[in-house]
Symmetry: C2
Subunit: 320 residues, 2 copies
């Protein structure tokens, strides 16, 4: 009898779900909208019914399911599946693990969504089964997940791997959504890159980005990368600064965790080598030579599937 | 039949050894000088004979020994006990685990000495069995050990936990022994504190430390703490700066690892509350509030016994 894992990546807009084989092949994947009614309290039921329908459709029996690995966007107690608080969903002290287990009858394991994405990249993405890996997601914000000795570092109350909130500007930094100032997220996110470019434009009008800004009213982090590639000096300076700050932050983490892989994901990672080359250069300047030589930079491969695959792997880790 | 662990903490001057009960009581401890002959190649033999004599003296049979946990001052492959390179001992690519096992006939587990000290504090010291702990040793240099999910982070080629080499001054920092500049060790070690105080004196003669320096020709980190306690403004400023830099470095690590304990050891930690109070204040400024509320700062308790107790615990972890 063939056995399967279920991955459920719970986000503010949709819940991504998948039936995954023991070797990490996605048999089927689908999405349901995130139900915000009554502070998200119907979400476990929604997952249960959607999964029940899917298993009937696929002709899979309950006994074939090994467990559900679920990712939640917030602080989670990974030992119990208890969700302390979330972003974009109303959960606060919500016992997701217990409730989802009661509804579905399956074993349920929960972790933070970014941590699960890191596990997914480790298992089936560019992490190539590295037991020591740092995943950094450069999107609207900066997220992350750290794997050491093969396990995600979730920490004592669920803030482990919150790489975006590492302080990189000790004083006078830009305000961050977390309430602090000078967090990595204020510099190395897509939002941060655009903010820095806008600030630079006000000081120096000689840049193709300034015209872009006037014509289109706005520009994106991708536009900054495009301008730098086309030879725009100001865009290049902004990105050099961002890569220097990000490279040092990652180097300091790498000195502490000594990973074999640094996996860069999120929208900004689409810049590929334009990002990796200067980032690696900055990293090498701040890392111990021995840390640096053991460590490879790669772009994340799994995109939106990272979370559900990480969920499946979390089930596998717990059942081993 | 009562069973015992053996701890061996191999340093540049002495090898500290101990016979330790399963519950972590030191039955007997002793030291032998570190034999530097032929690049340290006689050390495993020295440990073997010294241990053999001790077991006879104590009336303990070979069958009662569960294994040896050894700490080496350098980069170690904790999976195999292979020592890549060391400071103060001539070992380079030295297969300590295998050789010591062959000589003694006991199972042997090896890790970096600072990592073992962290494990010791976790097991029997102020770590109080925390599974998520950062140990920082402020001595001549700055050392450290990180425990996540109950296990030491040794990393992929043994540089895990090298907290002293986190970059805290991105450019123009003082040179570090590791070849980089601006490492935490250049600021927060006893040496770093004295250097910063000396630099400050050349700019501002109005300090009790200046007289100290002229009279005694030299002063220590303890003298800087003493002067600050006695109301010396310059000494206070130097220490405030050191605690700010150290607090931010530890906060950034804590955001990544989310520990319940930060254990501060080493000679500088003898300053006790004079160190912990300003350090905690700086830490709280840079850490996520949630990270901060989960985390307690404590002074290390085990002193020179931390390494051998950590060795014993390493054996226990491997045999579980």
């Amino acid at each position: 009898m063939k056995k399967y894992y279920i991955g459920a990546d719970i986000g503010g807009t949709t819940i991504k779900m998948a039936v995954i084989t023991k070797d990490g092949t996605i048999l089927d994947k689908w999405e349901i909208p995130t139900n915000h009614k009554d502070d998200g309290s119907y979400i476990p039921e929604d997952i249960h019914f959607s999964l029940k329908d899917k298993l009937i459709e696929l002709g899979i029996h309950k006994e074939q399911i090994l467990g559900i690995g679920a990712g939640a966007p917030g602080f989670v107690d990974a030992d119990t599946g208890f969700v302390y608080q979330t972003v974009n969903i109303g959960w606060r002290n919500f016992d997701l693990g217990k409730i989802l287990k009661e509804k579905t009858g399956f074993p349920v394991y929960v972790d933070n969504d970014a941590n699960l994405a890191a596990l997914g990249e480790k298992w089936k993405g560019s992490g190539e089964n590295s037991n020591d890996l740092i995943a950094v997601t450069l999107g609207t914000g900066v997220g992350g997940g750290i794997i050491a000795n093969g396990e995600v570092i979730n920490g004592v109350n669920g803030t482990g791997g919150e790489i975006g909130h590492i302080t990189v500007i000790p004083s006078g930094g830009a305000p961050c959504n977390c309430g602090k100032t000078g967090c990595l997220e204020t510099i190395a996110s897509a939002t941060g890159i655009v903010r820095l470019a806008e600030e630079a434009i006000t000081k120096n009008k000689e840049t193709s980005l300034a015209e872009f800004s006037v014509k289109e009213r706005t520009f994106t982090a991708k536009d900054v990368f495009d301008a730098a590639r086309a030879g725009d000096k100001l865009a290049r300076e902004v990105l050099d600064y961002v890569m220097d700050v990000l490279g040092m932050a990652i180097a300091n983490l790498a000195i502490a965790c000594n990973p074999s892989k640094i996996v860069i994901g999120g929208g900004v990672s689409k810049a590929g080598e334009d990002l990796l080359v200067p980032l690696r250069k900055a990293f090498d300047q701040y890392a111990l030579p021995r840390t640096s030589e053991a460590c490879e930079f790669v772009i994340a491969e799994l995109g939106n599937d990272a979370g559900v695959l990480g969920g499946a792997f979390l089930v596998q880790q717990n059942l081993e």
